[in-house]
Amino acid sequence: MKHTLPILIRKEVTQFRRNKVLPRIVVMMPLMLVLVLPLVTQMDVKNISVAFIDHDRSPLTLRMESHLAHSNYFRLCEPVGSFEEAEQMLDDGKVDLVVSIPEHFERHLTLGDPKPILLEANAVNATKGAQGMQYALQTIASAAMEKARGRGAAIGAEQLLTVENRYNPTGNYRHFMLPALMIVLLILVCCFLPLLNIMTEKEHGTIEQINVTPVGRLEFILAKLIPYWLLALVLLAVAMLLAWAVYGLLPAGAAALVFLAAFLFALCISGFAVTIANISDTMQQAIFVMFFFVMFFMLMSGLFTPIDSMPRWAQGITYAFPPRYVIDVFRSVYLKGTLFAELWFDFLMLTLLAVVFNLLATVTYKKQS
């Protein structure tokens, strides 16, 4: 029957509109994701307190001290006399980082026999420790470089650190986070809403009334999913516009690629959601199972932490996770302006997973027990 699909879609839309909570949350979601979450999920570390011990007190080390003092990232604490005292402060949590310059540092450096600077960081918070160390190295290196330039001496590359953030030149964490947050938006809309919708029909027994009619399985499921696919794409567009308006972030490449990937991703995860709904008997069970998987989707797909730094076996598992591919497309297109030709693997895998998950959804949906 050809005209049942529009009838069923209209029913879904009416029910959604009439819901007291869902439409409001849906409007809130892109706003919160773009306006609030990038600010609070910052992993940029600021206000690192530094104990600077200078046993040299040469022009170079004074310059280093002034660089640290003028950086946004550091707060230089009161001058500290001895290394032991500084270490005690590190133990007590009063400072995050200790920089200790050995005696005659500048002289040794000029003679071509540099003595090492000692850097000690509190790495209880591993990110803060590592980043603090990194910033300190950059700051000290830049001071040394200025000094060298001032003297007009040639600088060997091996003497200096160069850290360069390609594609995200300012290392702006927001530009890294926003694509990931857009994917979280897609997951919320295309995983949870269809799941809750189907489970509600199951718990109320309304699905049984539908099952005794000639409505086909495919029509019934499509009628449930099409509105959420459209909703997801609209919300994505809103989020992208907001990201542009608020942070000036626009895709460096074709926005169409972002939407194509988002659509394929929506197909994947909504098929997954229908599968979970089909095999669950109660809402409680369905939600718990979904959270279990979404947790892995979010933490193991490179949304927040890079896949490359995961153990090998874990990297293997991520190939089955659709967010892995969509985040690659989003970040590549947004930050690097990558072309389709270089992203074909991501699109191929998204298509493949969409087929697999939707086949699973069709197979597990039974009109008959």
Partner: protein, 245 residues
Amino acid sequence: MDNIITVSNLTKQFGSFTAVDHITFAVSRGEIFGFLGANGAGKTTAMRMLCGLSKPTSGSGSVAGYDLRTQGEQIKRHIGYMSQRFSLYEDLTVAENMELYGGIYGLSRREVSDRVDQLLTALQFADHRDDLVGSLPLGWKQKLAFMVATVHRPELVFLDEPTGGVDPITRRQFWDLIRAAAAQGTTIFVTTHYMDEAEYCHRISIMVDGQIRALDTPAVLRARYGADTMEQVFYRLAREAKRGD
């Protein structure tokens, strides 16, 4: 006579439990067929098999001329079903529910709207056309569920305890609806626990422990068991049940 349902040795097992145990019977076209039995006797399971909601473990049968085992989807085009649980959309209005199901069964928009008007007028319910179903009292919900089950004028309607929890006046009104539908040629297959309702049926069967123990007109059954009322007949048979509730 033309049989709209014929089943033979229909059986449903859940693991080692036999919910429906080799039942054989026939229902003729236009009949009001009462399907009685204690809770847990297997009525709902049997009915779900007849509607194509549940696959028989063994046995065969046909409903509305289609094979129970292979033509489930064809059967669904020709029947209406009202489940034990109220199962219309509470967040849709009276008219929206009827339009939805009318549309699902392939009625044109025009036919649906005519039919909705006709049914609501017959029920004297036209004022509540745009009320949300969730706001209606149970008795009305059940009448509405019946209307939705018959919106496409099916040849056969399955009613699973349609009057459970409904007050006596509404119950009587409900049976008026059933008889009116039957008078227009719709076959009614109904389960109930109210023995006065059993008297309204043309024929009844009584299921005990998954098997059909008796099947005839109420008058014949009363005579056979030397009982004054169907209630006594039911007691006699249902007491033999070994299965608990």
